[in-house]
Symmetry: C2
Subunit: 164 residues, 2 copies
C-alpha cells in the first residue's frame, strides 16, 4: 500500500537506511556467555517524517526465535545535525524512548525514558548506534544494568536483502 | 514464517483476538471536533506468551493516513484473572506501557509509564479496553491531557477480514 508514496523531504539523511537487512550479530555482557544470532531488520517509509522499524533475531544453531522489537525512527525537520528519536516496543515488557542525533552518518541515540512492566527485567541507559559501511547496516547497542555501566551488549552487520 | 507455530498455552484466553480486523471508529475529545476514521488492526501469535500488535487508521473522507502504532500484548501465565501488559510504540514520539487484566472477556489496561520524546505532544492516563462482541473486535480509549481527566477519545468496531 505504500509503494507509490514519496518519502517525506525530512527523511533525506535517512533514505539509505530504508530497506530490509539480514545478517549476523554478536551478543555479550559481563554477566552472560557470548552468543551469536541471526537477524532480519527493516526500515520502511510511509510518506511521513519517520521510518517504521521492525526486527527479529533467531538462534544461529537451531533457528529458535530469540528477540524481536518494533517501533519508529523519527527525524525532526530543520534541525542540524538532524535530531532523531527512536520509539521502540519490546515483547519483554519494555518500551524505550531514545533520543539523539544523526551526525557523520551515525544514528546515535540514548534512552531518555525506559518504561518497564511489573514483570519485565528492567534495563536502563541503552545507547544505540546505527550506521552504513561497506554497503551494510551496522549497529551497536550498549546498556546499563544494576552493577554494570555502559557495557556493549550487541553488535551486528546486516546486508541488504531487498534489492539486487 | 509463523503459520506452523502452535500458540503458547498461556494465550488461551486471548486466542479469539488473533486475526486481522477492519472497520470504523469515532474520535472525540473535549478540545477537538468529533471525527470518524477507518482502521485496520492485527493481533498475531508467534509461539510465545504475547501477541504482536499493529494498527493503522486513515481518513474516511480522503483516505489520507492518520495514526499508526505497533507493539505487543503480553499475558502473564498462571495469573487469575489473567494479568495483561500492553507495550506500544507510536510514531508521534510516545512509548506506552499499559498494565491491567483480562476479566470477563475485556482486556482492560491503563498506562503505568508513558515515555514522550522532547518533541511529542504529551498524553497521560491512557486507558484501553478491548473486547469481542457480535463477532467484532471493539475497543475504547480514554485519556487525560492537561485540563481534562479521563475523557473518551476513541471507540471503534472492527470486523474480522482474515477468515471467511
Amino acid at each position: 500500500m505504500t509503494a507509490a508514496i514519496e518519502p517525506h523531504p525530512a527523511l533525506a539523511p535517512l533514505l539509505a537506511f530504508i530497506g530490509t537487512w539480514e545478517g549476523e550479530g554478536e551478543g555479550e555482557y559481563p554477566t552472560i556467555a557470548p552468543f551469536r544470532y541471526r537477524e532480519r531488520l527493516s526500515f520502511e517509509q510511509v510518506g511521513k517524517p519517520f521510518l517504521t522499524y521492525e526486527q527479529r533475531t533467531w538462534s544461529v544453531t537451531n533457528g529458535a526465535p530469540m528477540h524481536r522489537e518494533c517501533g519508529y525512527l523519527r527525524i525532526i525537520p530543520d534541525t542540524s545535525p538532524p535530531v532523531v528519536e527512536f520509539i521502540i516496543a519490546q515483547p519483554t515488557g519494555i518500551a524505550e524512548v531514545a533520543e539523539g542525533t544523526l551526525a557523520d552518518g551515525v544514528v546515535d541515540v540514548s534512552t531518555t525514558t525506559t518504561g518497564c512492566t511489573a514483570t519485565a527485567v528492567p534495563v536502563s541507559g541503552v545507547r544505540r548506534r546505527l550506521w552504513l559501511e561497506d554497503a551494510a547496516l551496522h549497529y551497536e547497542l550498549s546498556m546499563a544494568t544494576p552493577g554494570t555501566i555502559d557495557a556493549r551488549h550487541l553488535a551486528a552487520r546486516l546486508d541488504r536483502i531487498d534489492r539486487p
